[in-house]
Symmetry: C2
Subunit: 114 residues, 2 copies
DNA sequence: CTTCATACCTAGCTACCCTATGCCTCGCAA
DNA sequence: TTGCGAGGCATAGGGTAGCTAGGTATGAAG
């Protein structure tokens, strides 16, 4: 997976996971890796700055916690973040549909679970 | 459509269109716009440098033509480009599937034409 | 006691898309 | 005949954002 591919989509991924419940950075990293079967194995230098950016943007809020002597910064969606994640979902769908449209009928779209 | 969303995927889009037959830059621009119903309306400053990059990388080859007093640079896929576009298609599918997997069952995948 | 996993941070690099601008021709309208 | 829009190409410069590589610290396992 080329690095550039992720650009502009990472925020959505992080927000979407946090949407399922508060998470700390390291857990987000792990969860992205597992939910994508190692397709997205993002380094810490990607995750942490992104979280800080999202917090600065008011989409996430964090608080420090202590678990077994280890400090964790736990993030959760703000109300503004909740709106934004839905917007970004739609943006992704539009983008993916556009790309798929250009690629044409040669490719198999992924299976429809419906 | 945020600008960053495209990063790392433009090459595939351009190669995929040229795969359908030789095209010049301006035509590629128009075709991307039309095939995506205006979802991807890319400026010239995006298209032309990308084409130069792809040619330098040996994926495209160009020749100048003259049509109605207007010079056009027409691009076509090299054999190396043909291999690369297939590889990039697979990369895109893997990436899109990964993102969709993270987004979870909340979103409707696009309709399956099959 | 060393190593590994957990857990956080950031300066600097790099890739690449976009803005803004410039150049040229043709066709058409004022 | 002078403008102007569309067609057609090009590039310097800027901004964004992910990654590399380095740092700090704890707890568990060897």
């Amino acid at each position: 997976m080329k690095a550039e591919a992720l650009k502009g989509h990472l925020d959505l991924l992080l927000l979407a996971v946090v949407e399922d419940g508060p998470r700390h950075g390291y857990a987000l990293m792990e969860e992205l890796r597992i939910r994508t079967a190692d397709a997205l194995d993002l380094p810490e230098g990607t995750i942490y700055p992104a979280l800080h950016r999202l917090e600065r943007a008011g989409l996430l809020a964090s608080k420090w916690t202590e678990v077994g002597g280890r400090r964790r910064r736990v993030y959760e969606l703000t109300s503004h973040g909740k709106g934004t994640v839905e917007e970004k979902r739609r943006d992704w769908q539009a983008f993916a549909l556009a790309v798929q449209g250009v690629l044409g009928p040669k490719v198999e779209p992924w299976p429809n679970p419906a």
